[in-house]
Symmetry: C2
Subunit: 200 residues, 2 copies
């Protein structure tokens, strides 16, 4: 990369490390950061530093937060008898966006994946179990991803939670809203049929 | 965006301002910057600040550089009788990558575009003309983009440069190497035919 002055080459390299940012995009972003208003470029740098300094996992639910416990764990209007377990903070955000869930969360920060060397000790499972001890929680929703790792993680957690006398649920599989039946894959359509519901 | 803690929301917003980065990608990048090694995230912030502090346009050719004059303008092996005029620093990089050009450059930082309010005074044209005054330069290659703004800019510069007794050229239009004739658009194929060359 001798085509670029050293500081520019280093910026392109740093941008290229971001997920989904190839060399061409990294170059485009770097040139943008050179030509945009100074405050905008420095604003991004400050935002990165500030976020890394102030954001940490909530000691209760492990969601990313700048307060402790986090906003959701502190909210007196949330239903403390249900915990929804998700893999990543972005999954929590996706569920919050639906507006239908008013319980608490627990973020695992990953899913069981023996191939990648991720075992139960690498996830926030101990922290989850200690939250279940005082008997407040009556239901646990295992909202891990509907793929191999997510299913394995849900099964593992279900086995841990059932002996505690909890209701253990998982979000329903089925047809996407607004989708076409003919475009659904066999697995999804099969699950939608076997999980069919009474019309009201 | 009340789903995110304030510093995280601000980081997502700052990333969303980058070109081609939508809200979903901004969120993905922000979560990556929260979970990657601390040095990597802070490294990106430092790279942005350093690049904005150290990089400026070369006083001769207006290419982005951390030295003045830039590496290319200082290089004694470059042919000082030819200047290749480009719109953006990235165009210079694209030409350098070909390895076939050994002359100097001039970066306009834009193209004439009356609709966007970009006139000759907004480009580095005066700076270019002052480089032509001492008579060293014999040829000027107008390598602006082959679109409406680039063509207009090339025509404008050609009219300024011809009275100075310079050879004024423009990169050839034609078929892309490795492309299929049937997929070339009419304009390109027409230019390739009218600009046909003797086989050797």
């Amino acid at each position: 990369m001798w085509y670029y002055a050293e500081p520019l080459a280093r910026l392109i390299e740093a941008l290229h490390k971001l997920p989904g940012i190839g060399p061409k995009t990294a170059q485009r972003l770097a040139f943008f950061l050179m030509s945009c208003p100074r405050e905008e470029a420095l604003g991004l740098a400050t935002a990165i530093v500030q976020a890394r300094e102030k954001i940490h996992p909530c000691t209760l639910c492990a969601n990313l937060t700048d307060a402790d416990p986090c906003q959701i764990c502190r909210d007196p209007r949330r239903d403390r008898t249900v915990i929804c377990v998700v893999e990543q903070p972005r999954d929590l955000v996706a569920i919050e966006r639906t507006g239908v869930y008013r319980g608490l969360y627990h973020v695992l920060h990953g899913a069981l994946s023996p191939l990648d060397g991720v075992g139960p000790q690498d996830l926030k499972i101990d922290q989850l179990l200690s939250r279940l001890r005082d008997g407040t929680v009556k239901e646990i929703i295992l909202a891990t991803n509907p793929n191999a790792e997510g299913e394995a993680t849900a099964l593992y957690l279900a086995r841990l939670c059932r002996p505690l006398g909890l209701r253990v649920t998982r979000p329903a599989h089925g047809l996407p809203v607004g989708g076409d039946l003919e475009y659904a894959d066999e697995m999804t359509l099969g699950r939608a049929l076997s999980g069919r519901q009474e019309m009201v």
